[in-house]
């Protein structure tokens, strides 16, 4: 069973992938929720433009997204230069950049699932909450959010899963540096490029499958628990 033993480099790729995906998911959660709410409930000019921008990473080749990130968030990019100079936040060739790339790629999936579940909440219930004295913010927190929780969780898990598998944008933006930006897919890709790397690629593939299945099972269990809580009227 020796071939099942992960090497330290492989372990570091697994840990990095989980770290990058978790940060990508958690950091984009508030923004994703806000954008989903805006798209589901808002009425403003330019709504379809916002919708288009959110969905752009889904339809662009990942390499293009990665290159655009490099241009804007790289050290000499407009945003990247500003953040590095004023806040000391650097994205290029760091794990933070990998998290950013994963967040951008997972964002449309997250927003889509959340938006659908917010749209499914009966607005009449929100109106009823308003007549009872709840402000729009409180109404969102105690009525809309709990009722759309299954979709919100599904969106977060989709984003996490997408982040675990993200390859094109990440490798274009932050390259493939072991221990810093070499995530699971990058590590598998590297193994396939060298002679005798098949067992390593296979081991990491198995790890990927286990993590993906665990995420799926966890989300299903969570959804069932919520379903039990609501006996729909």
């Amino acid at each position: 069973m020796d071939w099942l033993q992960l090497s330290p480099e492989e372990w570091s790729a697994v840990r990095l992938s989980i770290k990058v995906s978790s940060w990508a998911t958690l950091a984009s959660l508030p923004l994703g929720l806000a954008v989903a709410l805006l798209l589901a409930r808002g009425r403003f000019p330019g709504k379809s433009v916002l919708n288009g921008i959110v969905h752009l990473p889904l339809i662009l080749p990942p390499v293009v997204t990665g290159y655009l990130l490099l241009l804007s968030f790289g050290r000499r990019g407009v945003v990247g230069g500003f953040l590095a100079e004023h806040f000391g936040i650097v994205f290029s060739f760091r794990w933070t950049g990998a998290a950013l790339a994963c967040a951008v790629m997972g964002f449309p999936l997250m927003v889509r699932a959340m938006r659908l579940s917010i749209e499914a909440v009966d607005r009449k219930l929100e109106r009823a909450a308003n007549t009872l004295g709840a402000s729009p913010l409180v109404t969102f927190l105690v009525v809309t959010l709990p009722l759309s929780l299954p979709g919100v969780v599904a969106g977060a898990i989709l984003c996490f899963a997408k982040a675990m598998g993200e390859f094109g944008a990440t490798i274009t933006f932050v390259s493939n540096i072991p221990g810093e930006t070499q995530t699971l897919p990058s590590a598998i890709y590297t193994f396939t490029q060298v002679p005798g790397g098949e067992t390593g690629a296979l081991r990491l593939t198995a790890v990927s499958i286990v993590i993906a299945m665990a995420a799926l099972v966890a989300s299903e269990a969570f959804a069932r628990r919520i379903d039990r809580r609501f006996t729909v009227e």
């Binding site: 109106r127 009823a128 909450a129 007549t131 004295g133 609501f230 006996t231 729909v232």
Partner: protein
């Protein structure tokens, strides 16, 4: 409490232009479907904004388009009982009831949770989910939820419309108790003349987005025939005091200021005050006191007004010792009896025509209020 409303609002082919003021404990917005009743309470609650107009409770202005005032819904503190209850499915009955409790300013919280739960008889439901309640139970919880937010006005949008007759009979006494025992005034939307006769202290009669008549129920209900035919028929509201049962005949003897009544199917203890609805078509007129007739209720009075009704009929209003009674008769009869204001006449009401479903018990209400 006084509510003043004067609003205009146009939506796709329908225009609401309504003005009324009421200080009644239960003001019924009454009219056929599509007359703009629900739109009017949506404007009062803030769910809708008027194109032009002003809405004020006591001296608090909620909306004034001229002064650019529009208080948002959640700051109005106006309770709203929706026709479809709209309980929050993810919260228990207890959590639903307590939802609005802390939103009102501390000094304005008048609602007593235990008393309201007791009044509505929902104490045994507190740990259930809304999905496990019957229609009547949902209605009562929705009423309790609105009340526990300590509103300064309670709006009810046909809370009985979605219920069957048995459930209606279950809820009506609760609404009477709200009217008589709590300090919150109620605006009640209904298209049922029976409900209005039973519950309303004041009536705003609506049709096609306009107010046809407004005033105390005793003044508006007798005019229904001339106002809007599809909304019901003219009837008089008489306040009676139960005197004594007549068990051998299954009747009850009652007194009003106009005289003595004997009615069937009254179930109330001696001394109870009842408000009884007498339909105008059930009242017969006679210039002489009828002798040897089957009618048990004969009141002596004088004609106060005659209003023509369609081609062949007329509504004759009498004053019988303080009771205003309206009779619907043919023009031919009115002419043959030579009726004109001031003519002495006898009103004859058959005991069996009395309708117990629209009879209201009056609890703790100064009767002067109802006879305004």
């Amino acid at each position: 409490m006084s509510l003043e409303v004067s609003v205009q609002r146009a939506v796709s082919g329908f225009t609401l232009d309504a003005t009324f003021a009421s200080a009644g404990r239960l003001t019924a917005l009454f009219g056929p479907s599509g007359s703009g009743k629900t739109m009017l309470i949506n404007l009062i609650s803030g769910l809708m904004r008027p194109d032009r107009g002003r809405i004020a409770i006591d001296n608090t202005v909620l909306v004034d388009t001229d002064a650019r005032i529009a208080v948002p819904i959640y700051k109005r503190r106006i309770g709203y009982v929706f026709q479809d209850a709209r309980l929050f499915p993810h919260l228990s009955v207890r959590q639903n009831l307590r939802f609005g409790r802390f939103f009102a300013p501390r000094t304005d919280r008048w609602a007593d949770e235990a008393a309201i739960i007791d009044l509505l008889g929902i104490g045994h439901l507190l740990d259930r989910r809304p999905g496990m309640l019957s229609g009547g139970e949902k209605s009562r919880v929705a009423i309790g939820r609105a009340l526990l937010a300590s509103p300064r006005l309670l709006l009810m949008d046909e809370p009985l419309a979605a219920l069957d007759d048995a459930r209606k009979r279950e809820i009506l006494p609760f609404i009477e108790r709200l009217r008589d025992e709590l300090k919150v005034p109620i605006v009640y939307v209904s298209h049922s003349a029976q409900e209005v006769a039973r519950l309303a202290t004041d009536v705003v009669m609506m049709r096609d987005g306009r107010v046809l008549a407004t005033g105390p129920a005793e003044a508006v209900l007798p005019r229904l025939d001339t106002l809007a035919e599809e909304s019901g028929e003219s009837s008089s509201l008489i306040t009676l005091t139960v005197a004594e049962p007549m068990p051998e005949w299954g009747l009850t003897r009652l007194r009003s200021s106009g005289g003595e009544w004997r009615l069937a199917r009254v179930q109330a203890a001696a001394g109870t005050k009842l408000r009884v609805r007498i339909r105008a078509r059930d009242v017969m007129l006679s210039r002489l006191r009828p002798e040897q007739s089957s009618a048990l209720n004969v009141l002596e009075g004088a004609v106060t007004a005659i209003a023509p009704l369609g081609e062949a009929e007329a509504l004759v209003t009498l004053d019988c010792g303080g009771d205003a009674i309206t009779a619907r008769v043919t023009r031919l009869s009115a002419d043959a009896l030579e009726l004109s204001p001031g003519t002495p006449v006898f009103a004859v009401v058959k005991s069996v025509s009395f309708d117990p479903a629209s009879t209201a018990a009056i609890r703790g209400v100064p009767s002067a209020d109802l006879l305004a």
